[in-house]
């Protein structure tokens, strides 16, 4: 089991309210990602669930039990930290066994579970090393090992991949997703990287300034962003947001169109523009086009390799079925 429910949970540091009262339900077995720009309160929210921070008001319910005043050690949750937070004076074996030792399990059971976790995480050959002798990816695996041995109600990940290099990050992302499929345990994952959020989550919680902007599946967020913040935050490259006269034509204060939903050619189209920088990724090409409709350049994503000279005149046509409309407050117009 591992259902986590936040009822009107808020957090203030002194007089500064970082999280105004919010409600959120995380169902058993779900992979939920908290995503938002740095300083949006996503880590604080995770620490409130963990019990590492006290809530200012409201209740944290774990499996229907009010855990608000239960210390972190007794909540039955495991956490993986950004800095790995391994015990530097203990071997990998002792690091992984630590939560079991604290739980008072006998030595044989500790050994059995450590061996099992080490096998799952490919750490068997490193059990007698110290954390200082491991690479970043291995350390991260030890941290995950320490979390899985005790079979917690839920895993909490606090930006676990941000200290790894790009290649390793993709690999670990897959490993964590696979772990979730295998264990089927609730996971709450904090990141500022929307690619991680989109690829891993069952449900994404987008936060800004401590406020939940939208909760939904990755595709819901991509297809129907509730406001301009979510629209601009989810998706890479960013959605083009255009205001002014062009938006008024559609009866909106702002219209949004994703780079992949704009057709580009040299002959004719709705908007005319000049090609700026192009980014060639092989599989895709991103064009940044200076257009009359918006002071910001419009980003266009073309599949495969396409070439337009720097400074060339081109025509853009947004596909009408993919146009997002937002009112003056930035909210989606249905």
């Amino acid at each position: 089991m591992g259902q986590i429910k936040l009822n009107q949970v808020s957090k203030s540091f002194g007089t500064v309210e970082v999280i105004p009262p919010l409600d959120l339900t995380i169902e058993n077995g779900e992979f939920v990602v908290f995503v938002g720009p740095s300083g949006c309160g996503k880590s604080t929210l995770l620490r409130l669930i963990a019990g590492l921070e006290d809530v200012t008001s409201g209740h944290v319910m774990i499996d229907g039990v009010d855990a608000t005043s239960i210390p972190p050690a007794k909540r039955g949750l495991a956490m993986v930290f950004q800095s790995y937070a391994l015990y530097p004076h203990m071997s990998v074996r002792k690091n992984i066994a630590f939560p079991l030792r604290m739980a008072g399990l006998d030595k044989a059971e500790q050994d059995r579970r450590v061996r099992q976790a080490a096998e799952v995480l490919n750490l068997t050959d490193y059990l007698d090393r110290r954390p200082g002798q491991l690479s970043g990816g291995q350390r991260q695996r030890v941290a995950i090992g320490r979390a899985i041995v005790r079979e917690p109600k839920a895993f909490l990940f606090d930006e676990p991949l941000s200290n790894l290099d790009a290649a390793l990050r993709v690999g670990m992302r897959l490993e964590i997703s696979e772990l979730h499929k295998r264990l089927k345990t609730t996971m709450i994952y904090v990141t500022h990287d929307q690619v991680e959020a989109m690829t891993m989550a069952d449900k994404i919680v987008v936060l800004q300034a401590g406020v939940i902007e939208q909760v939904g599946s990755p595709l819901e967020l991509y297809q129907r962003p509730r406001n301009t913040f979510v629209a601009g935050f989810i998706g890479s490259p960013k959605m083009n947001l255009i205001g002014g006269a062009e938006a008024e034509k559609h009866g909106a204060a702002t219209i949004g169109i994703r780079p992949e939903h704009i057709d580009i050619n040299e002959k004719d189209g709705l908007w005319q523009g000049t090609v700026g920088v192009s980014e060639h990724l092989g599989s895709d090409t991103f064009f940044h086009i200076q257009c009359g409709v918006s002071p910001e350049p419009i980003t266009v994503r073309a599949t495969g390799e396409k070439a337009f000279e720097y400074g060339a005149k081109v025509h853009l046509t947004p596909r009408p079925e993919h146009l997002h409309r937002f009112d003056a407050k930035g909210l989606r117009i249905a």
């Binding site: 590492l52 050690a73 956490m79 391994l86 015990y87 530097p88 630590f98």
Partner: protein, 276 residues
């Protein structure tokens, strides 16, 4: 650009380092030399002193006239006792300030350090009078308390800086792993802070061992440590160089030997955790 180290520059640096080292060490060396001379030879011009015969005479007289081992025992009790008592108070204090800092933590630390800037004589009379009233004059327990109080700011500061080096996330990880506060301190914090704690103990033992103002003013005979033992050889009738030197060598030898064997820890301690 890195500066090129030519052999000549290297030789020059080595020479300068040795020269400065010798100048600093010279008084101790000279005390050592004088302690092996007779009282008459010790006041000769320097070169004649070196040429004079070497003898253990002064050491014999010093041991006969005043009980070295009694003073040594008192020094050990005062140095280690005050350090241990200080640790018992300072560990929880430093833990609290390092890991659950409040709004006034920095102020408290500065205030504690500021007490070290107060001239000790300023509080001599109040403390002296309190000692008379409490019957603590010339008692080991009284001196242990005073020495502990004098070094407490340093112990707290040192432990605080060492504890601050330990990432808070590791302690939070221990808490998430189900460790109670006691287990967290026992299995995670202490092993990680052990090198720092060792440096702290070492430095404070030395400071307490060498402390002369309070030990001289608050003791007479019973609780007198080695500082009083040395001081007893500078009497109104004049200085007895050879005996004073012999007494000094006997007093500083234990701490010098201890310091020699723990140089690495000591340097770490003196840099207050700035060097890892």
């Amino acid at each position: 650009m890195a500066r090129a180290v030519t052999p000549r520059r290297k030789a020059l640096n080595t020479f300068a380092a040795w020269l400065i080292g010798l100048i600093i060490f010279f008084p101790i060396l000279w005390i050592f030399v004088l302690s092996f001379k007779t009282e008459g030879n010790a006041i000769l011009p320097p070169l004649d002193v070196l040429r004079a015969p070497w003898t253990f005479e002064s050491y014999g007289i010093v041991q006969d006239r005043s009980d070295y081992f009694k003073h040594f025992g008192n020094s050990v009790i005062l140095a280690f006792g005050s350090t241990l008592l200080g640790l018992i108070i300072a560990v929880p204090a430093a833990w609290a300030m390092a890991f659950v800092p409040g709004k006034r933590t920095k102020d408290i630390l500065m205030w504690m350090l500021s007490t070290k800037m107060l001239p000790a004589v300023g509080v001599l009379y109040p403390i002296y009078l309190m000692f008379i009233k409490l019957g603590l004059l010339d008692s080991r327990i009284g001196l242990v308390i005073v020495l502990m109080l004098i070094n407490l700011p340093i112990i707290v500061w040192m432990l605080y800086t060492y504890f601050r080096e330990i990432p808070g996330e590791i302690l939070e990880a221990a808490r998430m792993d189900g460790a109670t506060l006691r287990e967290e301190i026992l299995y995670v914090l202490t092993p990680m802070a052990l090198p720092g704690m060792a440096s702290t103990v070492l430095l404070n033992v030395i400071l307490a061992w060498n402390e002369a103002f309070w030990t001289l003013n608050l003791t007479a005979a019973k609780a007198a440590p080695l500082t009083a033992f040395i001081a007893s050889y500078s009497s109104p009738e004049g200085l007895f160089y050879a005996k004073l030197s012999a007494a000094s060598v006997m007093a500083i030898a234990p701490i010098l030997i201890m310091g020699w064997f723990s140089q690495k820890q000591l340097v770490r301690g003196l840099t207050f955790g700035a060097v890892k």
